[in-house]
Symmetry: C2
Subunit: 322 residues, 2 copies
């Protein structure tokens, strides 16, 4: 049964007040696509837009988690409220992320200005990018001024997630194999700042040279030339400089149209996704739900019907297409 | 202007006959979402289902491309027609894959029994998984009995692509860093066969032990225990054994319900995607197209309207929701 208007408003108030319990409950509602979640987010929406979203991406093994933890600690020292969303689409089948949360939270136990959440699974119809975006809105409404979104940097899902962010950090490390070049084509164009982590390792100099050479080929957006920042996150080296560089990027684009353009682009994708899942839910409900879909899928697999005819059947039964 | 029924039938005949030119033209039509592509695929659909789809996934730097090339050459030597689809979602912004195609095709120049195509970009509404699936159907109709689908193994998009396949190879190499463990949770559950490539490198023994230890924790499906096969693809070592193992897997599941179950599951996802993009196209057309969407997205970014209200507006204007 959906909550009453008053109950949702009370919940929204608690979220705006930063209640960890209210925020956690809201995340569960978002993940489970509960109707109350939409009602809650509608109410919270006017209170959003104040957070700065930093996306952190890179291959597995580049030390993203440690870097994000250090960056979060840096912001906390400056009394800024921090939200961390760690997205791991590599484990869509496991609940492993939850354990990771507990381990990561230990370092920040008792700090109510810090909220950490991992997202791994995705629902029947919804994408991980959508859930991540909604959780970011929620943390924004809860007063987190710095939101760090961490994701493994390969694949379209990650590109979609990273598009959420105001500033994108691409993390690289020396010695991940020569074929790391394979990853660069895409990452070069989404990175606003490049982090050379584990910079005390052999090959750091060479990787930095390669990076700078490749970056010199990228056309700067609004005269921002993506810099390379060296860090050793495990020893907290370079983290302050990195935070400063993020601040510089933020200042650079606060005075330009770029940030609004990026956010409008992001909302365009989001509206498409929201529309798509709304329409799908309606179509399937009208046509006999998931059970009918399963039947049709089996008929297609057995070549008894072609997939275009199956789609046509659902559409005509749902009343959405005459 | 759409083609006449006769022209599409002629095209379909050419595809069934294996014409490289007809297949290439069809792939372009699929990538550009031309209405003729749907008509063509409808006609070809009854001729499909004969191909065996092998998915090859793994992190960048594991030598997947070389392995796929060697496997393809192995099948060609046995007079089997081969199709290779190399999916690279890491370069959604570049046209780099095309160059890669040309380089890879050189080794098979003049061999009409071999078709190689890279897919990298994705359209405004369509996903890469959808395009890949449609190209696989096409190659199936064109008589390619062995279809190899190669993709970088991280992210939901890749998981969706790999779900297409009848048999999934997960490729790993020694020395990709300790944190390769991060990738395993998801990959362990989708792999039917594990390939330890570059097996002449230091650390191969240790990686194999780790792999076997982790695999011992995975519940076997229909009493198939995913084996580990060692290869050195650059020297063509282990490729024949790998092909034999794939054959063993195929025989194992041809006698079980598993293959049909997997294909029905795949078609369920496909039908959802097809439905979604069909409905989205209709909704946007009715509501003023992409231009109206762009306007609304901007209004949301400026907090003038909430995203749920924006979606409601498109729905009511499109006539899809009263």
């Amino acid at each position: 049964m959906p909550l009453t208007v008053d109950a949702v408003e009370k919940w929204a108030e608690e979220v705006r007040g930063g209640s960890v319990r209210a925020v956690s409950r809201a995340i569960s509602a978002i993940e489970n696509h509960e109707p109350d979640a939409e009602e809650l987010l509608r109410r919270l929406f006017p209170a959003t837009g104040g957070a700065y979203l930093t996306g952190v991406t890179g291959a597995p093994g580049t030390g993203k988690s440690t870097l994000v933890d250090r960056l979060a600690a840096h912001y906390r020292k400056r009394q800024e409220q921090v939200g961390v969303i760690a997205v791991d689409p590599t484990s869509p089948f496991t609940g492993g992320a939850i354990l990771g949360d507990r381990i990561r939270m230990q370092g920040h136990a008792g700090d109510s200005g810090m909220f950490i959440r991992s997202m791994a699974t995705r629902g029947f119809l919804g994408g991980l990018a959508r859930t991540t975006a909604e959780v970011a809105l929620l943390l924004d409404a809860a007063g987190k001024k710095q939101i760090l979104i961490e994701t493994v940097g390969v694949g379209q899902d990650e590109v979609d997630i990273v598009r959420l962010a105001d500033c994108v950090l691409v993390v690289m490390v020396p010695g991940l194999g020569d074929d790391i070049q394979n990853m660069k084509a895409g990452l070069m164009e989404i990175g606003d700042i490049f982090v050379l982590n584990k910079a005390d390792r052999e090959g750091a100099e060479r990787l930095e040279q390669q990076l700078l050479a490749m970056l010199s080929l990228v056309t700067p957006r609004d005269s921002w030339h993506p810099p390379v920042v060296r860090t050793v996150a495990t020893e907290n080296k370079g983290v302050e400089e990195l935070a400063e560089t993020i601040g510089r990027f933020r200042a650079h684009f606060d005075s330009s149209q770029e940030r609004m353009r990026k956010r409008a682009e992001h909302w365009k994708q989001r509206l498409i996704e929201m529309l798509g899942s709304r329409l799908l839910e309606r179509a399937l409900r009208g046509a006999g739900g998931e059970a009918r879909l399963t039947e049709l899928a089996r008929a297609v697999a057995e070549r008894k019907i072609d997939p275009f005819a199956a789609v046509g059947e659902i559409l005509s039964q749902s009343g959405l297409e005459s």
